[in-house]
Symmetry: C2
Subunit: 411 residues, 2 copies
C-alpha cells in the first residue's frame, strides 16, 4: 500500500469524458489499496481562454488579478474530478491552493512554493478519501491568490509528494515516458526505463518538453521519485531517480539525444582586443531580458575578437537592435546573425566515467559530412550547433552510434 501523488495535465482533463477516465484510473489504484492525492491542471484551452479575455482589457494584465482569473481554471477541474470520483462511489474532497494551504511568496504569475500544510489532506487520506488539489496555484501570507507560472502543476505535484512523503509522484501526460529522442525524428527511439534527475534536466532544457524543469529540480532536491507516464495508455513510463541509485545499475554512456530548433546564432566580429569585451556585449543583452545559451569566443588572426552566442530564435532581431549601439561604441567590425541553425546534444551520466565520448560524437557528425559551428560541454552533456538542414541526419546518426535504437521497432 503506497501513497501516490498523481498529476494530470490539461490534455488529460481536457473534456468531461476525459475527467471521467481519470477518475476511473484513480479508482483502479484505490482498489489496489493505494492512497491517492491528485493534482490537476485546468482543462486544456481554458487557461488560454481566460488569458484572452484579460488581453482584451490590458496589454499587460495586472499580475494580482491575473492570478485571481487563471486560478479558476484548476478550480473547475478539481470540482468536476471530485464529482466523477463520487459518481464512482469513492469519497473525495477538492482543495484550492488557498484551502490546502500551499503557501508561496508574493511573486504573482511566477510564485515559488514555501510551505504546504498537510494536516487536512492527511485527515482525508486517513478517512479513505481521494484528495484532489488544484495545481499551479497557491496563496501568499496575506491571502492573495498566486500562481506558479505555466506548467506549474508539475511543480505542485512534486511539492505535494515531498510534503506528504509520498512513495512516488506520477506525472500523467500524453506521452508514455521519456524517450531517447523525439520519436517524430527517429522512429525507433526507445522509451527509457529510468533516467536521472540531472539527465532529465538536460533533456528538458534542451527541448524534450515532457516535464517542467522546475518540477524536476524540485524532485531532485527533495529526492521525490518521479514517474512520467501516459494517461491514455497502460505502461510503466519512465522513472526519474537519483544518480546514486541509478549508477548501481549497468548504465549506457549516453541516455538520450536532445535537440532544439528554436535557436539563432549571433556573431559580433572584429572586436578590438580589450579586457571584458564579452561582458560589455552580453550585459546589455541580459538587461534586455534575452536569454543567452551557447557562448564561444575566438581570437582572430588580426588579434581582434569574435564573440558568437545563441539566443531564442524569436529574440534574434531584438538582440541585434540592442547591440547595434554597443557595437559602435566598442569599434567592432560587424554583427551577423543566422537563424538557420539547431542545437543537438547527447546527454548521459555515463559520460562522467567514459573518455572519448566527445570525439565519438564529432566523428559521427564528420562521417555524415556535417560541419560543427559551435561546441559546448558539461559533465553529462555535449552540445553542438549545426546547420538546421542536418538536424535529422545528425540525431539519427548519433542515436544509432550510441546504441539507442530500439531493436523492437523497424526503421
Amino acid at each position: 500500500m503506497s501513497l501516490f501523488v498523481q498529476k494530470f495535465g490539461g490534455t488529460s482533463v481536457g473534456t468531461v469524458e476525459k475527467i471521467k477516465a481519470v477518475a476511473k484510473k484513480i479508482a483502479g489504484f484505490k482498489e489496489q489499496g493505494h492512497d491517492i492525492v491528485a493534482a490537476v491542471s485546468a482543462m486544456s484551452g481554458e487557461t488560454n481562454r481566460l488569458i484572452g479575455m484579460a488581453n482584451e482589457i490590458q496589454d499587460t494584465p495586472d499580475p494580482r488579478e491575473m492570478d485571481v482569473l487563471v486560478s479558476t481554471g484548476e478550480q473547475v477541474t478539481i470540482a468536476l474530478l471530485c464529482m466523477c470520483l463520487k459518481e464512482l462511489g469513492l469519497d473525495a474532497r477538492s482543495y484550492t491552493g488557498t484551502q490546502v494551504k500551499i503557501l508561496t511568496d508574493s511573486a504573482h504569475n511566477k510564485a515559488r512554493i514555501q510551505d504546504i500544510d498537510v494536516e487536512n489532506m492527511r485527515k482525508d487520506l486517513d478517512a479513505g478519501r481521494v484528495v484532489v488539489v488544484a495545481g499551479f496555484q497557491g496563496v501568499d501570507d496575506d491571502g492573495n491568490i498566486t500562481t506558479l507560472g505555466r506548467g506549474g502543476s508539475d511543480t505542485t505535484g512534486v511539492a505535494l509528494a515531498a510534503a506528504l512523503k509520498a512513495d512516488e509522484c506520477q506525472i500523467y501526460t500524453d506521452v508514455d515516458g521519456v524517450y531517447t529522442t523525439d520519436p517524430r525524428v527517429v522512429s525507433n527511439a526507445s522509451r527509457l526505463e529510468r533516467i536521472t534527475f540531472e539527465e532529465m534536466l538536460e533533456m528538458a532544457s534542451l527541448g524534450s518538453k515532457v516535464l517542467q524543469i522546475r518540477s524536476v529540480e524540485f524532485a531532485g532536491k527533495y529526492n521525490v521519485p518521479l514517474r512520467v507516464l501516459s494517461t491514455f495508455k497502460e505502461g510503466p513510463g519512465t522513472l526519474i531517480t537519483l544518480d546514486e541509485e541509478y549508477t548501481k545499475m549497468e548504465q549506457p554512456v549516453v541516455s538520450g539525444i536532445a535537440f532544439n530548433r528554436d535557436e539563432a546564432k549571433i556573431s559580433v566580429l572584429g572586436i578590438p582586443d580589450s579586457p571584458g569585451v564579452a561582458s560589455k556585449i552580453l550585459a546589455p543583452v541580459g538587461a534586455a531580458n534575452i536569454e543567452v545559451d551557447v557562448i564561444v569566443q575566438n581570437v582572430a588572426a588580426d588579434n581582434t575578437n569574435d564573440l558568437t552566442f545563441t539566443v531564442n530564435r524569436g529574440d534574434a532581431e531584438k538582440t541585434i537592435a540592442t547591440l547595434e549601439p554597443v557595437i559602435a561604441q566598442l569599434g567592432a567590425r560587424e554583427i551577423v546573425s543566422d537563424s538557420k541553425i539547431v542545437k543537438v546534444s547527447i546527454v548521459g551520466v555515463g559520460m562522467r566515467s567514459h573518455a572519448g565520448v566527445a570525439s565519438q560524437m564529432f566523428n559521427v557528425l564528420a562521417d555524415e559530412g556535417i560541419n560543427i559551428q559551435m561546441i559546448t560541454t558539461s559533465e553529462i552533456k555535449i552540445s553542438v550547433i549545426i546547420d538546421e538542414k542536418y538536424l535529422e541526419l545528425a540525431v539519427r546518426g548519433l542515436h544509432t552510434a550510441f546504441g539507442l535504437d530500439n531493436p523492437e521497432v523497424g526503421e
Copy 2:
C-alpha cells in the same frame, strides 16, 4: 461623499465590453468623490455552462463540489473588472468570498450569510481603492466554499452594504427601476420613484422578478436603502425604503399590480367533514417539497368540505400523484386541477388606511365580466385567481382604475 455598494448582475457583466462599461460607470462615481464597493455576478451564461458540465457527471452533483465549481464564475468577473478599473487609472482590488471573508453556514448551494469581515475592505477604501467582491459566494467555518443560491449576488450586495454601513445599495440590472406593473402587459406602466420593502416583497414574490426576495428581506431587516437602476441607461431608478420614511409623503393607495402566470389550481372535493382535514391534505404536499400559495376552504351544501389551493404550475402533476393515496384514505370524492389560471394582485401600503380597496378591485373585475375563482388578502395586498385568458384585461383595468397609468406614455 457617500459610500455606495453597487451590485452588477450577469447581463451587466455579460461580455468583456460590458465589464468595461461597468468600470466606466464606477469611475464616474469615483470622480464625484464617492467610495465604491462593487459586488458582481458571473458573466451571463457562465453559471449555466458550469452547471451543464456538472450535470454531465452526476444527476444530483455533490453540493460541496458544486459550490467549488460555480464560484469560479464570479471569480472570473472580479478579476476582469479590476483589470478594467486599473486600465482606467483607478486603483482596485478583488476579493473572493473566502478572501473577504463572507462567513456563511455550511448549507452548500443555499448558504446564509452569518458575518462579514470588513477590515480589509475598509483599508482599501481608505487608501482610495475600488473594492470588487465576488457575489453569491462565501466560506464556512472550515474554509469550505459556499454559495448563496441563484440570485444570491443581490444578497451579497445588501449584506456588504449593511456590514459597511453604506449610504445606499444600488442594484444595477437591465431594467431602469420597479414598475407599477409589467410594461409588456401595460404599455403605460410607470416607474415608481419609491416603494417600501414590504411592497417590494409582495411585488417580487408575486412575479415582478427584479430583485431576489431574500435580498429585500435582508435590506429591510438592516434598514439598507436599496435602489434598483439600469446599468445601460441613466436615471434615478426606484428607491426601496422603510415604510416610516415613505408614509411621511403623500402616497398612492395602490403602488403596483403584480401577476403570476406560473400557478395551477388543485381542488379536493367532497371531503367528509372532520377536524384537521386541511392539514391532512397539505402536510404531505409540503413534505414533498411542493410550495403552496393561495388556500381556500369551503363547506359545501352536503356538509362535506372542498379544499382548493394553488401550486407552481410545474408541480401540479406531482401534487396530484402525492395526494391520490391521501384522498382515498380520507374518503374524499375527487381531485381536480386547472392550470389555466393566473393570480393578479394589487399591492400598496396605502391600503392600510383606505377602506374599500377590495370592493373597488372586485368592481373593476366585475365590470369587465371577469369571474373571480379565489381571493386572498393581506394587510398590503389583495390577490385574486382568475382564468388566464383574462390576465391582460384584468391588469390593464386595475392599472387604470387605481390611477397608475403614466400620463407621459400614450396607449
